[in-house]
């Protein structure tokens, strides 16, 4: 028996293709195609010549220069002998990884992909921790743009999340002027990052800025925190936090307000304290939304460029230069291949951290859902 299909039905069958194809083509053109081209540029030496550009394929030379060659100090920092504290931290980390693997292999859920994933995650984390320790805890060690970016990402996002959560917990309570504060907290998110960078550049200027009289009163007139590496990095992170805390706040307060009140009321009736309620009821329910916003911020934070560029120009030295700024400086000096190589390394690191973050917390989120 054959079923006759009408023209309309046949057209309906083609509809998904017709509607989706343009989007797919646009995405391919604007996203995938540049990604492939920039990979080719990263593997080439690009030179401007009359009439366009000259591309010469050089393999991994740009990456070699960044990881092992003359630009190693810029990307990976300056190395020194690990201190005893560094050895202790690395040993502890190795022990934790070892225990993690034993627990995994003892479990009944072993798989090839799971094993490979864990090896990649632990290997990557080991490298990042070792590099951070070598750069930051050794006498002659200096962070390169990779570790500086990781500092912005981990410390910055952690502070933004904690402050955002604190503010959300405060504002979810029915205190006087709640609406006003919600609006005020939202303002920084609406300002362009360059505007924030200029604002903080003025605020951190201790000779002419608004805090200059206070600093002078305390007797610190002859000081400038933008010439001290950690002072400059802190200034950048404060500016970044000021902009992004409202994002955390807005999403978390929405999460808090959507929580069912019955569990809380029952816990209160049973005599549970505030901390107990937060730990056992609020936090597990808030975990999925927390993971989502942290992931979004992690991805964004890896791309930080406006603040260090405007506030400190990447200085003092290269102390505040992020990977994005490193890539931009290379681009500005017409080293487009070097710039593409840094961009690709940034992509690899960001994908690794974000995928690891999601996978490591996947089980906890599933547990929270149950």
């Amino acid at each position: 028996m054959t079923i006759k299909t009408t023209l309309g039905e046949r057209l309906d069958k083609q509809a998904p293709l017709v509607f989706i194809l343009p989007s797919v083509i646009i995405i391919l053109f604007f996203s995938i195609f540049p990604l492939i081209v920039s990979l080719f540029i990263a593997l080439s030496r690009l030179k401007f010549v009359k009439g366009g550009v000259e591309l010469k394929f050089i393999g991994f030379l740009n990456f070699k220069k960044l990881i092992f060659g003359s630009q190693q100090y810029h990307l990976l920092g300056t190395f020194d002998q690990l201190t005893p504290i560094g050895y202790i931290i690395i040993s502890l980390f190795t022990l934790i990884i070892f225990v993690w693997f034993i627990r995994y292999f003892k479990s009944q859920k072993i798989s090839i992909t799971g094993s490979i994933g864990r090896i990649v995650v632990s290997g990557g984390m080991f490298f990042i921790l070792l590099l951070t320790l070598i750069n930051l805890t050794t006498p002659k060690g200096l962070p390169g743009t990779l570790v500086v970016t990781l500092v912005y990402v981990f410390i910055g996002v952690l502070v933004q999340f904690l402050v955002g959560l604190g503010l959300a917990l405060l504002c979810v309570k029915k205190i006087r002027g709640r609406s006003f504060f919600r609006t005020v907290f939202f303002i920084p998110m609406m300002i362009t990052p360059v505007g924030i960078a200029y604002l903080f550049r003025m605020l951190t200027d201790m000779s002419k800025g608004p805090f200059a009289p206070i600093v002078t009163w305390f007797g610190f007139e002859e000081s400038s925190w933008e010439v001290i590496p950690w002072g400059a990095r802190t200034a950048v992170m404060i500016g970044d936090a000021w902009q992004w805390i409202p994002f955390m706040f807005i999403v978390l307060i929405a999460g808090l307000e959507s929580l069912p009140t019955e569990q809380k009321e029952a816990a209160l009736m049973d005599g549970a304290g505030g901390w107990q309620i937060f730990r056992d009821i609020t936090w597990p329910t808030l975990l999925p939304v927390s993971v989502t916003i942290i992931l979004i911020r992690l991805i964004e934070a890896f791309k930080i460029i406006d603040l260090p560029n405007v506030m400190t120009n990447g200085g003092p030295g290269i102390a505040t230069e992020s990977l994005s700024l490193h890539s931009y400086f290379n681009w500005r000096t017409m080293d487009l291949s070097g710039s593409a190589a840094v961009g690709y390394l940034l992509l690899i690191v960001a994908v690794f951290i974000c995928v690891s973050f999601v996978n490591l917390l996947k089980n906890k989120i599933e547990l929270a859902h149950r």
Binding site: G51, D205, M206, N313, G315, P316, G317, M334
Partner: protein
């Protein structure tokens, strides 16, 4: 009657038609409807006077001058990418003439020789020889019109030094002594302690020439042809030696007597500090002299100018060590001090994109010529905010031009004398003008000097890194090509 009426009406129509045809052609201008896009630095300097004079030029010629400003460090890449890719959104550029080789060799710049030769209003022979040759000419052809004359010099508070009975610094050791002597004193009467020295040291700005000005007197002794950047036989960088080591020490030492955020100060910041009376000494181009007489300046009549300090110890290029000056080693020394004034940057100059429309090229040339002509230029060089410093011979000779701008006769003579002494010095240092000089200086030198001054690396590491970085570029570009270009710029 009807015929007469017809004749009359036809005559009226003819007259009206003639008037309508002739009047616009009489009042139409040479470049009506032509727009010239000129790329330069986004700042009150250089861009400011062009923007200010553009309406007058439009009244004269009808051309629209559209000045596009970008940060200093973006000028070179914008020009290169625009010209090379054939975008040609930039019709002309006002930029650092030392970069011209990178744009002339691929054929991006218009040869201006015939236009200059036939332009009597420009008075080309009145432009100082150095600016006509080094800043404008390449391979015997003229490619840029100078709008500015640049030399690094030292500025000192003449009132303070006179009161203390101290002479202006002749050596860098004296510079440091004076800086230390006045550092912490209130020099502008606001009750706050001020600074001994203010030198721009910001990264990604215009600060990387400063270290070269310090090292110059230690490194070049036998005249301009000796050069300070590379060995003229091997193209080996002259950076990993005792002269640079000493220069790094001096550079760091000056920071002790400076504002706490000096390493992040651009020239605009140090100029502001100078005119507000907060510094006893500074090193800068000619701008400070004219800024100090402007309204609001607290150092009008208190600003002295001197050629760059020199050194009694100079580099023996064979041993790599510093040795004392003598007649044979330092033939141009004055009282045993080897001075080497540095023509840093070379002065902002205008060039024209060869691919621009011919009418646009004509308008661009006429605009540069208009800006450089004595009527405009003589006024602009006396105004501090223009960023333009004297480069015409007549500007050095006509003191009245300066006294009418607000200088006293003595201070004008002092200011112009210092520039002229730099310009006339047989031991003047030429800036680097080989292919990719921007990468040698603005990328490698700038980054490592800033890392050193920030305390990230030692002077030994900085010198090694600059040497390695320069060698890498030389190898990439071809040692022989670079050596040949370097020798040519020095007159070999």
């Amino acid at each position: 009657m009807r015929n007469i009426n017809n004749l009359l009406s036809r005559s009226i129509a003819l007259i009206i038609g003639t008037v309508f045809f002739i009047v616009p052609s009489v009042y139409s201008k040479k470049y009506d409807g032509v727009t010239v896009n000129i790329l330069t630095m986004e700042a009150p300097q250089i861009k400011g006077p062009m923007v200010k004079r553009a309406p007058d030029f439009k009244k004269l010629t009808g051309a629209n001058i559209n000045v596009i400003g970008v940060p200093f460090s973006d000028i070179y890449p914008k020009m290169e990418s625009d010209f090379a890719t054939g975008t040609n959104s930039v019709d002309a550029a006002v930029f650092a003439p030392q970069w011209m080789v990178d744009f002339i060799e691929p054929g991006y710049f218009e040869d201006l020789t015939p236009r200059v030769k036939s332009d009597s209003a420009l008075e080309w022979d009145d432009v100082g020889y150095f600016f006509r040759s080094f800043s404008s000419t390449y391979g015997g052809k003229i490619y840029t019109i100078p709008l500015d004359g640049d030399f690094h010099m030292i500025y000192y508070r003449s009132d303070l030094l006179n009161a203390a009975g101290i002479s202006p610094p002749k050596t860098w050791e004296e510079y440091i002594y004076i800086a230390s002597r006045f550092h912490g004193q209130d020099m502008n009467g606001d009750g706050k302690p001020d600074y001994g020295s203010c030198i721009s040291k910001k990264r990604n700005a215009q600060a990387y020439w400063m270290i070269l000005s310090i090292v110059g007197g230690h490194l070049q002794t036998k005249g301009t042809g000796e050069g300070i950047f590379f060995d003229t036989k091997t193209m080996k960088p002259l950076v990993n030696n005792a002269a640079f080591s000493r220069a790094f020490d001096i550079y760091k030492e000056t920071t002790k007597y400076a504002p706490p955020n000096e390493i992040n100060l651009d020239v605009g910041d140090t100029r502001g500090l100078w005119t507000s009376g907060r510094c006893a000494l500074t090193m800068d181009w000619g701008d400070i002299g004219t800024l100090s007489i402007e309204k609001g300046s607290k150092v009008k009549g208190k600003t002295g100018t001197s050629i760059l300090p020199g050194s009694r110890l100079v580099l023996d290029r064979n041993s790599g060590k510093l040795v004392s000056c003598n007649q044979a080693r330092c033939p141009y020394a004055i009282n045993g001090v080897n001075h080497a004034p540095f023509a840093a940057f070379g002065g902002w100059s205008g060039a024209i994109n060869v691919s621009a429309d011919s009418k646009v090229k004509d308008a661009a040339y006429d605009f540069f010529s208009y800006m450089a002509q004595a009527n405009q230029s003589n006024k602009d060089v006396t105004v501090g905010i223009t960023g333009m410093n004297p480069y015409r011979i007549s500007q050095f000779e006509n003191i009245n031009n300066w006294t009418s701008a607000g200088f006293s006769k003595a201070s004008a003579e002092n200011y112009l004398g210092a520039i002229k002494a730099s310009l006339d010095s047989p031991n003047m240092i030429l800036d680097l003008r080989i292919p990719k000089n921007q990468r040698y200086q603005q990328v490698v030198l700038d980054t490592e000097v800033h890392r050193f001054i920030s305390g990230e690396i030692t002077k030994e590491e900085a010198m090694q890194r600059i040497e390695d970085g320069w060698e890498e570029i030389t190898e990439e570009m071809g040692r022989d090509t670079q050596l040949s270009a370097y020798r040519k710029t020095l007159g070999y």
